[in-house]
């Protein structure tokens, strides 16, 4: 999962401009609250084909990318 792909999924999810998303973008600024983050991660699991088991707080898109990389490792 890279930023480009993740940004596309998020942009589709919240109906915003994909260019407006970078690693420092906070979920809060996208209107994604903690419940919506859980939902987003569950959707990503379907995309990735494996479980991520969200067990930490993710504040930015960069946090999510790092989290996915960690779970992949």
């Amino acid at each position: 999962m890279n930023l480009e792909k993740l940004a596309k999924i998020i942009a589709e999810n919240v109906e915003c401009d994909v260019e407006s998303i970078n690693e420092d973008t906070t979920f809060e600024s996208l209107g994604i609250d903690s419940l919506a983050t859980v939902e987003l991660v569950m959707q990503l699991e379907e995309e990735l084909g494996y479980e991520l088991q969200l067990d930490e707080k993710l504040l930015t898109v960069g946090d999510l990318l790092k989290f996915i990389a960690k779970k992949q490792a």
Partner: protein, 314 residues
Amino acid sequence: MIRTSICELLNIKYPIFQGGMAWIADGKLAGAVSAAGGLGIIAAMNAGTDYLREQINIARKITDKPFGVNIMLMSPHADEISDIVIEEKIPVVVTGAGNPAKYMKKWIGAGIKVIPVVASVALAKLVERAGACAVVAEGGESGGHVGDLTTMSLVPQVCDAVNVPVIAAGGIADGRGVCASLMLGAQGVQLGTRFLVAKECSVHQVYKDKIIKATDISTIVTGKRLGHPVRSLKTAFSKEYYKAEYSDISNDDLEAMAVGTLRLAAIEGDEKRGCFLAGQIAGMVDKEQSAAEIINEIFEEAEIVLNGAKNLIK
């Protein structure tokens, strides 16, 4: 007698939980509810470990029946509290205000039954996968921290999404609410506001009187701007806070306004500065009763209602 799978699972007589209300749900209340056949729950809230141990001892002196501890995941002491429940061999842990996944392995390994409060389908699925033995699906009718979804919409959707028993919460205070919850697919209910006025509840009398006086439109939701909406009674404080939320006050100042206001309500009974958390169903709660009277009345009524329901089919 109404019994569901949650009764066998937790070894309780009635499928009813008493909500883990911060500053309110202490060892005395939890002990009384468990002694009466429900599941009493001690709120660990923001307090340290000494407070929790003390309350556990109080509850154990009242009853040898199982009771739970509610762990507020945003608490600065959440890590230490997560170990205390293991040391004290607490049979049931209910979690609120977040995703408990990071503690679940440890608790389940220690034989604790974990029942997270969830406000969405995705969170319910996530905690089920992490080993939750049941979930509390709490709608926004409830007092305290609230989600957007109502109990009516949330409970059946969570029931459809998970295979573990679902406990309905938010907007329930009598036998009709219990029946409605069971019809939505829930295996039990959790009540906060009605137990707040229990005789065994040590909350300040001013708080109880306010609940008893409240009507259907007495509550308000504040704190949306900070991302942690809270339902409380409309009081001088909550109305002032609501106004401030839509003013140009900074988020830090807004956060600071709320600090300590729960304690002021529950312990001091401070009508001006306290934040009196309550659910929308407060309007239905009109008298102080013992925990046993509350539970017996609710389930007697529920049986009558369920028996009568058959007559609707012609």
